[in-house]
């Protein structure tokens, strides 16, 4: 009896401890953002910001070109994700459902592409874009981000496509649908969760990318948000309050996306990961 009670209690205790450990850094970021500067650098940590200030958020939002950067970041990220999903889905379908020569080669190829160390190729990318006279444009960023997330998207979606019973598709075709129609009416709805969870990954990757963005888009109007985050660590010292406020704002879209996609996303990546 006693043993089973412990058996029932410990998972909950562990879960609570884990929860605290997982959430604390996030909490600390948000709490710091609301503290007056005097409470941020403090011999004894101020655990809960009773003395709330919005000053840091104001500093963060008042940064030059902030509005422009938000728009740029959203544009680049959303477009990259959408393109990657569309292009990726086409390939995923081919790789999951069709037999053809070289199929294995393509799969290995995309797996290799997934390993590309983008961070260390920045200068090569920069020189290409510079010589093509495309600096300070959102187009190269969008395209590079798209390719950055394409392999994962494609390989993951392949798993989802493979998981859709062929019989469904076939019966739709027996009912007189063309293959395209069968795809649109039968497979696509079933793929919705897969598309969502995959887009989440792509969104996080593109939203966070900065080594390339910093070098390609230096012009104020062309900058994206990752250029904004470190801008509060200045010659006057690191404005931790504003940095944390900016980080909080920066995290919001991803958090919202998570909440929005939650159920569907959580069940998500498994299939693709297995296939990937």
């Amino acid at each position: 009896m006693k043993r089973s009670l412990i058996g029932r209690v410990w998972p909950n205790v562990v879960a609570v401890i884990l929860f605290i450990g997982l959430v604390f850094p996030v909490y600390w970021m948000i709490a710091t953002a609301f503290k007056p500067t005097g409470d941020i650098i403090s011999e004894d940590p101020v655990w809960i910001p009773f003395d709330v200030t919005f000053e840091h958020f104001k500093t963060a939002v008042d940064a030059d070109h902030f509005g422009r950067m938000v728009i740029n970041s959203i544009t680049v990220t959303v477009l990259a994700v959408v393109f990657a999903l569309v292009i990726g889905l086409l390939s995923a379908f081919a790789l999951a459902r069709m037999r053809f020569k070289g199929r294995r080669g393509f799969i290995i190829g995309f797996m290799l592409a997934q390993m590309a160390p983008w961070e260390v190729m920045v200068i090569a990318i920069y020189m290409i874009v510079r010589d093509a006279d495309m600096l300070n444009s959102l187009v190269p960023l969008t395209l590079f981000y798209m390719v950055m997330i394409l392999p994962f998207t494609l390989l993951t979606l392949r798993g989802f496509v493979a998981a859709v019973p062929k019989e469904l598709e076939e019966s739709a075709m027996v009912d007189g649908c063309t293959r395209m129609q069968a795809f649109r009416r039968v497979i696509l709805p079933l793929l919705a969760p897969g598309l969502m969870s995959t887009s989440l990954f792509g969104f996080i990757t593109a939203w966070n990318e900065f080594p390339i963005a910093l070098l390609l888009n230096k012009d104020g109007e062309a900058k994206t948000l990752p250029a904004w985050l470190p801008s509060f660590q200045t010659v006057y010292g690191d404005d931790w309050g504003a940095t944390m406020a900016a980080s909080t704002i920066f995290a919001i879209p991803i958090l919202l996306l998570f909440v929005f996609l939650q159920r569907r996303a959580v069940a998500g990546l498994t299939d693709g990961a297995v296939k990937g």
Partner: protein
């Protein structure tokens, strides 16, 4: 690949009963008309990858044979220097030390991530629904935190003077930790970096593993318990085999992600102290961009790619073999 008819969109694939669904032989006569179809479907993805990944890669290769510094970049000069960059890198003790360190770093992180992630995933399956939602919420928050933001927070948590960690350790009676300098030593810096990376990566593994466990047919456990298997036996005979492909694939992804963890390592302590926590991408960055010695940086980048390929070769071979059996 096997199809899981009972739970179409999210069930794991390629599982224990792998032979069952494999319908060999020609399936769709109609497809003959569209023999080109798969290639057409693949064309956009392949073209995009070749142009926007292949081209920079080739360009990077070209740059690695050049003496390319501030001056050459500014004046658009091309100064070939043959294999000089490679010779210098390969003959430097630093490079090999960094390579060894990168491999060890990746191994430690991936093992921790996979073990802890799996345990948490199993814990999720065991919890009551309220606690499960709570823990899932925590995982999702940690996962959703942007890398740049979380790295900054960790720096701040482990700060020597006003860091929360030192304060807590000191209050907990470990007074020598009151002013402990985490960034002062190689191992303590690595400790912080590893904590950060493991914290960031666990949610992906845990949540997906949990999702995968929910798809294990209950009958398998029933059968196992009828055979008198205890919890551990059930785990090794049912859960583990069911999870194996998932674990392989996730490990592969984690190896790639950890190996390339430039942002975390560089931001926490710039590869310091004394360059003792540099891993390959950081080394490539510091020697290349940081020192404005871009040709050298490109050469290190090429070597980094080769090493990553070697590390993942085993997995790629498995995939090759596996794909052979399919369709």
């Amino acid at each position: 690949m096997t199809v899981q008819t009972e739970r179409p969109p999210s069930g794991p694939t390629d599982v224990a009963k792998s032979d069952g669904g494999n319908s060999q032989g020609p399936r769709r006569p109609r497809a003959r008309a569209g023999a080109l179809a798969p290639y057409l479907l693949l064309l956009p993805a392949v073209a995009a990858t070749v142009v926007f990944l292949g081209w920079p890669l080739v360009n990077n290769g070209i740059l690695s044979f050049q003496n390319l510094n501030m001056r050459q970049v500014i004046l658009h000069l091309t100064e070939w220097n043959g294999f000089d960059n490679y010779k210098e890198v390969l003959s430097s003790e630093d490079f090999w030390r960094v390579t060894g360190r990168s491999i060890a770093f990746t191994a430690i992180n991936v093992v921790l991530i996979m073990v802890l992630g799996t345990l948490i995933g199993l814990l999720l399956a065991r919890l009551g629904s309220k606690m499960r939602v709570l823990l899932l919420f925590g995982l999702v928050l940690a996962w959703a935190m942007p890398v740049v933001a979380s790295t900054t927070v960790y720096q701040w948590l482990f700060a020597q003077r006003y860091g929360v960690v030192n304060w807590v350790l000191a209050k907990a009676g470990w007074s020598s930790m009151a002013d402990y300098d985490w960034m002062g030593g190689q191992y303590s810096t690595f400790f912080v970096i590893i904590t950060l990376i493991v914290w960031q990566s666990i949610p992906f593994v845990a949540i997906n593993l949990y999702a995968a466990t929910t798809t294990i047919p209950k009958e398998l456990y029933e059968a196992a318990s009828l055979d008198g298997a205890n919890a551990w036996k059930q785990f090794t005979s049912v859960t583990l085999p069911f999870m194996r492909p998932f674990l392989y694939a996730t490990t592969f992804l984690e190896v790639i992600w950890v190996f390339k963890a430039f942002v975390q390592v560089y931001t926490i302590n710039q590869g310091g102290p004394d360059r003792l926590t540099e891993i390959l991408p950081v080394y490539a960055y510091i020697e290349g961009a940081g020192n404005q010695h871009y040709g050298m940086g490109s050469a290190i980048a090429m070597l980094t790619i080769v090493i990553l390929l070697l590390l993942t070769a085993y997995h790629l071979r498995i995939v090759l073999k596996q794909e052979e059996d399919e369709l």
